[in-house]
Amino acid sequence: MIREKSINAWQTGILLFFMFFANKILVLPSLLFSEAKFEGIFAVVFLFLLEFGLLILFYKLKVKYPSIKFYEMVKNCFGKITTKIVFFLVAVYFLGKIILLYNVTYIFFSNLIYRESNNFLFLACFLPVINHLAICGIRTIGRTAQIFFPAVVIVLIFSIAVGVFGIEGGVVVEQAKFVNIVFASLKHLSSFGDVIILFLFMDKIEIKKGEWKIVFSLSGASMISVLAVVLVFFLSYTYTSFLHPFAFFEILSFVKEYYGGLGRIDIISMVFIILLTYFQLAVYLKVFFVCFDGLFPKLDRVYSVLTFNFIFILITTFAVINLSKIILYGESYLPYLSLISFVIVPLCVIVALFGKKNKEKKE
């Protein structure tokens, strides 16, 4: 069952392409608008720049240590206890991200089509698939993603192109202050920082010399696509963007409502969202498993699977399933945990990169 083989440059790039959409194309644009108006898009640009910085850091690390495990690397630099703490925090952070992503998707679908469905139906649809993918390993996820990639790209290009028809002129920009943009960025820090996934799988990633451009190109394309979705959404709904919480769906819905002709094209966005959500949840879950293995190396995989499912079902059944609650939790607690992505992991990597160098120099 467990097929832990490596992924190549294309699969890495495609996984990054998919991950850059996680938690960014549904609720986030609407929240950014309510906090920073049209300038909310600069928060996305700023956070993507940080994300790109992490990717460059990963590149440097991978070039220097092509086959080392992240766990080993951190352990060598900081010792066993610190490594366990870092892995514990990463596991909690990704569990939080899974809950956020799952609930936003659940609310999206229950609001729009499956009004009377309960959480258990959604769990029945999601849990088996993401568990299966995560247990099969990163190579299985990568290869499956590779199969779906052309369809995802076509749907994405189509959606953005159609969304352009809904753009309205005559809006006042420059309404928010710089401080609003900074606050919006900090509040939604947890929706970004997915590049650290690569650090956790770094021993499973095999990128040949000259193939890095594939990873960078696909990452760049994904970032530009997310920015295009946010921009089209803002320019379609203008001053009422904050009243529409499901951005990617809303841009197609806007064209459907006001220009007709193409029929229910908004269904395309639902297919796109469900497909991406499966992959994103599977990758997050895989990260959780990796962290669990790091924390309890002697325990069998079945324990990590049971632990995750038990906690996940418990939280989603009793704690959340309410958009305002999830957003509150996403804005209030997760940003602090995002320090793992933007501070702790990069710090570990920098120490590993330069600390070793210093040691070598001393020798």
Binding site: P128, V172, T240, F254, Y258
Partner: protein
């Protein structure tokens, strides 16, 4: 067979798929059909409640789907009161014995007694409800919304002619204006805080008007012409869509605008696709004291802002392409095909003068009402933010910026 089951047993995903099918598929077959649970609402009317205990009365133009061989739907108007829109809708559900299905709403009608207060309070629930489409048309009623829906009831039941379609075409013509729920809130949240909503009214059937009556009482009546259109309803009442509108500012009624004035304002708004321009008493070859009607087949509107000495000047350049469509002469019939007639300079300059005069009147209307329904604010702000802010700061009343803005209009009319 044994091998088959062994293979299935080794594929846990298949087993899970079967389990999901058993748990969710089979019970769903026993669920009653949605058409048996929902009352389908196509229009909502909101009035102030007559009872003191409640704030609002909500009327729903609804039909219950029943299987039959024709496409006719039998509508009913159901009213319920509540302290909020949601509460009133719940009560309406109680009265029908069905769940109120809002996803088919195409029109929201606001009663005139709501206009003294902020109407966004009334519309808030409908705007935020995910079932109600943001493209739902919003109309204001010169009277009670409930009466309007009662008049519409027969129109929708007995013909394929629907009131939502009448409103949909409002945006198409220069004579009227349309407003969706989304457009209303966009205006409300924009810097101008202004939204423009079309007004419908009801007239008794024996009133003077240009209408054709088909069939018995409450049958279909349609008409169009001049500046108004009427559609028949219950007890001979007619729905009148003259192109009249109300400007809302900060959600409250700011000004009534007549259909004639809407035409003038629409020159600046430029959202229409077609319409006509009529010149009365035109004297000049080959016509003699004629009334000439021209069809607008194309238009191009361009605005440019220049700040001169801190005062914004808006240069509006409009190009119209027109074709002669109708000639009414006192003495004799015009003996040429209008399609082959080439509109002369003399006629186009007459049209230009008329449009210029009407645009000046439109500006006066907007200035008086202090409402910028043409969204000049955004144009000025985006052209030169600093200068515009300085200009606004120099005014005693910042809302009155249109009065101190200079306008220079250039109208060019071409023959097709």
């Amino acid at each position: 067979m044994k091998h088959f089951f062994k293979k299935i047993w080794q594929t846990p995903m298949f087993l899970i798929f079967v389990l999901i099918g058993l748990f969710y598929g089979i019970p769903s077959l026993g669920n009653p059909a949605e058409i048996n649970r929902f009352a389908i609402v196509t229009a909502v009317g909101i009035d102030k409640a007559e009872q003191e205990d409640f704030d609002y009365e909500v009327s729903l133009l609804t039909f219950v789907p029943v299987p039959e061989q024709t496409f006719t739907e039998f509508y009913k108007v159901i009213s319920a009161s509540g302290n909020s829109i949601e509460e009133a809708l719940d009560y309406a559900g109680l009265y029908t014995g069905r769940q109120v299905g809002l996803s088919h709403i195409k029109t929201i009608v606001l009663s005139e007694d709501l206009f003294d207060e902020d109407v966004t309070k009334v519309l808030d629930y409908l705007m935020r409800d995910k079932e109600v489409s943001s493209s739902t048309k919003l109309i204001a009623m010169d009277g009670k919304a409930k009466d309007f829906l009662n008049a519409v009831k027969d129109l929708d039941s007995q013909s394929s002619y629907s009131v939502s379609e009448i409103v949909a075409y409002n945006e198409h013509y220069i004579y009227a204006t349309g407003c969706s729920l989304e457009a209303f809130f966009k205006g409300y949240f924009s810097p101008t805080k202004a939204s423009i909503v079309p007004v419908f009214s009801l007239q008794s059937g024996d009133d003077e008007g240009i209408s054709t009556e088909n069939g018995g009482g409450g049958g279909e009546q349609t008409s169009s012409g001049g500046s108004g259109g009427k559609s028949g309803g219950q007890g001979g009442r007619q729905i009148v869509n003259n192109g009249d509108a109300i400007v809302f500012k900060n959600g409250e009624k700011q000004k009534d605008i007549s259909g004639d004035d809407i035409v003038k304002i629409n020159y600046f708004r430029g959202e229409f696709k077609t319409g006509g321009i009529t010149i009365e008493d035109f004297n000049g070859e080959p016509f003699g004291k004629a009334s000439l009607s021209f069809d607008i087949s194309g238009k191009k509107l361009r605005n440019k802002v220049v700040f001169e000495n801190g005062i914004p000047t808006i240069y509006t350049d409009i190009k119209f392409t027109v074709t002669l469509s109708e000639v009414e002469q006192e003495d004799e019939q015009f003996n040429k095909d209008v399609d082959l007639y080439n509109v002369t300079k003399n006629e186009t300059s007459q049209i230009e003068k008329q449009i210029k005069r009407e645009m000046a009147e439109a500006l006066e209307i907007m200035r008086e009402a202090k409402t910028d329904v043409a969204n000049f604010y955004t144009l000025m702000y985006n052209t030169d933010k600093k200068s515009f802010k300085r200009f606004l700061d120099s005014l005693d009343d910042k809302e009155d910026y249109l009065r101190y803005t200079l306008f220079k209009t250039s109208v060019r009319v071409h023959s097709k």
